[in-house]
Symmetry: C2
Subunit: 204 residues, 2 copies
Amino acid sequence: MTKTTSDITKRTSIGAQRNPASEEAILTAAGALLSEGGLAAFSIEAVARRAKAGKPTIYRWWPSKAALLLDVYHRQKGETFYADTGNTRVDLIAFLESLLGFWKKNGGEVFRSVIAEAQSDPAALEALRDYAVTRCRASGIILERGVTRGEIRADLDIPLVMELFSSFCWQRLLTGRLDASRAQLAHLVDAVLTGFASKESHAQ
Amino acid sequence: MTKTTSDITKRTSIGAQRNPASEEAILTAAGALLSEGGLAAFSIEAVARRAKAGKPTIYRWWPSKAALLLDVYHRQKGETFYADTGNTRVDLIAFLESLLGFWKKNGGEVFRSVIAEAQSDPAALEALRDYAVTRCRASGIILERGVTRGEIRADLDIPLVMELFSSFCWQRLLTGRLDASRAQLAHLVDAVLTGFASKESHAQ
């Protein structure tokens, strides 16, 4: 195990040391702006005004608008995606279902806009890459628990193979196909748990 | 098997019946524009001028700029991604390596710009969705050959599980992490072929 719980719950590269009270005020202001006015209302300037914070303070802690947006987005998302039912299959299906469901309900617009922005803005790309890598590590907890219980192979590169599941969700978001059925998600998880190879070829 | 070879090699919803000679002239003009001037030079107007075609003709066959761009992109890409070595593992690794390699070399900029555009333009989203679904079906040929050889389980929903691989590549493109090592790609393919579940839990 090369990472600690704090790596899993906190993003790693958040710039300079933050003051918790100001950080809270900025994130709260940013969240309120976003939920009231949507993406169109969201700018570092507007957040600074509402939080009564200086723009340099915000830029010191969040190097780009995308970085701040991702932190706000992540707060809205919460940490409810890693249910621990004691069964990896059930946890993985729940993870996929929660993520697609969250995006369908409200978070999808923000996240897809950040992805779009990252394709022409290097600072947004850096924020997105940081976020994606950190999230794949965090969601790996589902498989790590499975390893502990002896359900999941201990030799897996867990962050790498978890990318398959998060990427699947990204592609669904980006192509407007969030309504995967539970049967499809279960099929996907079962295929990956059991393996694509036929029993005959396993036996060889 | 619910699809024919022609479904696999041709996109399915291409609007009205095309005239092959005009289609060829338009695609050639569009490809030349793109390689000479990049995305900035690419518009339906410029393509029409260069191909000596009417804009309405182009719009009849490609409902959006994104749809035409995807056709040009797909031409550049060619069909060299589905090498048939007689071994599914090798073919899957080659598929991932070719796609990431193609994007790294030149195709990535076009494809990520279409994905970005699709997040705010419904016509681009439709073109992208159509393309993604068609491509997942096409790349399924790698697994279908494996089923025929008895290497791959016949009960898999092949287009669905192939989404895992294409999605992985998309996420790498969109987060600027195209340089996955061959060892990582092999690990991913092996994990999926063998299954994430431990042998003990398979035996239960």
